[in-house]
Symmetry: C2
Subunit: 178 residues, 2 copies
């Protein structure tokens, strides 16, 4: 079974090492993981940047279409919420009838994170507070299960505990015969 690794991991300086570690865990669980940076996209230096962006979009879309499930990294990225590209991919996968499992290396609720953000930069809009929800209700609603734990700032993008928990939900270990 193929699974797509969605998340802002692609922007991390250690993106390929992080992806390699997650792919190894998937392989051990019998799953083939696809990661956005896997695809080799020919970038013509004279090509306008939006054309390259379009090629990457189509490549990611094709990977999601090819997978049975998405493992989505919901660790907040540049604000109180999930990375917007990941949010879009969650919606796309959900719309295509794929399974979506979420994980986050931040355990705090969306409401608590939003209030903390607003101390930095206040606005007039309401805080969405549905208690324990991990993010905007459209994210939590599309995601079958979410595994969140506090990895701490130094291991925010490298800690694999929440990822392993999500992977376990996607691919439960076989029961030994009694």
């Amino acid at each position: 079974m193929k699974v797509y690794l969605a998340g802002p991991d692609v922007f991390h300086p250690q993106a390929r090492a992080i992806a390699a570690a997650k792919k190894a865990l998937c392989a051990r669980a019998g799953l083939e993981a696809l990661f956005p940076l896997d695809s080799v996209i020919e970038a013509d230096p004279d090509e306008p940047k939006p054309i390259l962006a379009r090629k990457i979009f189509l490549s990611n879309r094709a990977m999601i279409e090819a997978c049975a499930a998405v493992l989505a990294n919901l660790t907040p990225f540049r604000g109180p919420s999930v990375d917007p590209g990941t949010a879009m991919e969650i919606g796309l996968a959900y719309g295509l009838g794929k399974r979506v499992i979420g994980y986050s290396n931040v355990g705090e609720t969306f409401a608590a994170r939003t209030r903390a953000f607003l101390r930095l930069r206040a606005d007039e809009c309401e805080v969405e507070d549905f208690g324990p929800l991990t993010d905007n209700l459209m994210i939590d609603g599309a995601v079958e299960r979410i595994f969140a734990c506090d990895a701490g700032p130094d291991r925010l993008w490298t800690d694999l505990a929440s990822f392993e928990a999500a992977l376990g939900a996607l691919s439960p270990p076989r029961q030994a015969f009694a």
Copy 2:
């Protein structure tokens, strides 16, 4: 034709007035606009908050399914990007084969907004810079056209020029007979 109004407008103190203004413009263009707050959701005071969140999720999903198109408010919300609920709805609508048209009341590119955000709160991750793109490439990729203009901070959520432009793309005015 029905059209879904996606956006963080729902969190604004004047959400219903903003929606009424947008709906009136849609009606004038011959479109029936659906807005998340249209649905009356029975909230039992004893009910856990995630159950209510789930009801709202299902109501929004049903509205998107009922529509032929989505007009998505991409005005950045609490960070350099689109609201994550809107991002998910863009992906869902795109996955369901609906037309998605975007509009934003901020004209600055995603790359410029991200760099400005990082002056406030730096991180080690890469800045996605595909030149003129309005947001993460998965957002721009799913959206047929984007209309962005600088409404200024006082009219960030109330100015209707970018919305009207998006509406025009969805529903071009009939040509008069020559």
